[in-house]
Amino acid sequence: MSRLEVVCPAGTPAALEAAVAAGADSVYFGFRDGTNARNFPGLNFSREEAEEAIAHCHRHGVRAMVAVNSYPQAGRAELWQRAVADAHALGADAVILADLGLARWARSRFPHLRLHLSVQASAANPEAIAYWTERAGIRRVVLPRLFSMEDIRTLVPALPVESEVFVFGGLCVMAEGRCMLSSYVTGRSPNLDGVCSPAEWVRYGREGPMLTVRLGDVLIDRIPPGDKAGYPTLCKGCYRVRGRAMRPFEEPASLDLLSRLPELMAVGVRAIKIEGRQRGRAYVERVVRAVRGAAEQAARGRPLDAPDLRTLMEGGRATEGALARGWR
């Protein structure tokens, strides 16, 4: 059985170099515009930086993947097509995308370009994955973060393509690509603009000892002193339901499936993915090293001896997400 391929995020050239040095097998990044799902200020790659990044990866035997995984907007699809064409021209090993029209365009224009189906496509069952494989020539699918281990065990061996699973980092509780909460409040969303809960909409305030968190005018959390606040997304917020204050969607926590790598490898998962293109190089360096180490231990059948990464996690807490018993 071959070792799990470690797929690492890079929001900047510095983070990319850190990922390569720390043992990434593949690195993924996006261009500096709304064509990818981490369209944050100060992040992502110009065409020149992308060219250098891809060359750097190749010099070190690392694959470079370009994410073009937001949804092209009506009348402006050319921007997304150009991103795919440039990724191809610059020698990217794969393009990660989510939109059907864009995938069909890419396939007809660049038949040999390797296409990976982004988690944003929310292909959450074998029939949907078969559709994308047959009709859009997808070679790998990034599985939505909503499967239990049981689901993965039955799904992966039956797939006609490679599968990639998120194992560490931020966690969407909603089905990726099927969530418009952010645009409902801010006008900007992952599908439309590649952003969720844009930073310029976040407003912190005080109510007595409590820290209040608003997105625009909408109060989404009240945090008591001493509690750690995660990045304020609507799905992790605190609201009143049935007269009680609660987090009806999800607690702020980061995904950590490192202890599950042997099982993922055994069922035939090809690659494991780290979320976090918005993270700095120090974070990327530490997490990539830990995940690569865990992947090697899993391949050698050794028990996991992973460093404690909890200080890097949202709210300082880890979750196995949908793989945890009773999550659904």
């Binding site: 559709y131 994308w132 609201y239 339901v241 999800e250």
Partner: protein, 303 residues
Amino acid sequence: MGGTPLLVLGPVLYGWPLRRLRDFYFKIADEAAVDVVLLGEVICTKRTSCSTATWLEIRERLERGGKTVAMSTLALPTERRELESLRALCREWPGLIEANDYATLHLLAGRPHLVGAFINVYHEATLAVLLEEGAVRVCLPPELSLDSVRLLARSAPGRVEVQVFGRLPLALSARCHHARSLGRTRARCRFACRDDPDGLALFTLDGRPFLTINGIQTLSASYLEASFQVTELLASGVGALRILPQDVDMVAVVAAYRALLDGRIGPEEVRAILTRLCPGRTLTGGYLAGRPDPAPAPAAAKG
């Protein structure tokens, strides 16, 4: 296609019990001036109170009432049981089916079908691929601006459908938030959604109505009411307007939009009628009117 726009009654998104569903559709069959009615369970198979035989009986009644009937399908089939029920439905249903997931598009290959608002269609090329593969009509996701809708409708006149009434469907999850709000899991939900025929209200901590929980789905608290945009929608080539059922007098809601389409009343009057029909609800033009007002302050909610 083209010509007269169709008025479409979308599927019931909430967990209504069987008797209520039957009564609702029989009344629609006899009294509502709607052209197309979509049946079926979109959110969760666990709550399906209707067998295919019952849906067929409802369909027959609606067809006798002069309606075209189609079957809508699950928006997020993930578990094996859900896929099996989807496969069975695609095999057994004798009429038109609406796909809300790529799984259903795969199962419907080669058959004419409808595409629902849960499949992401944001630009012309995706719309074109879906039409080429057999979609008769495509309902756009609610997140689109009026400008985007215009461009899409112009690229496929008569083939685009847009929601004009009802809560905005905003998110899907593998987790049942309805069950979670009661400390239960989806596997042991004990039909947590059964007692909320219009969904479970979620307020901000400062008391503003914000969202609605409906099983694995999250919707807006406000109802979309887009009568002010209808003229522009139709002028750009939108072929069908979708009304989503809520726990209000839906025959009267349909009548208001029918009167608008027939030119008997204007949007101001539609808004006034609907404000009366939906007490305690805020009406919003949604994304079609610019940015929706997501959590109106209590003062704004009155106006």
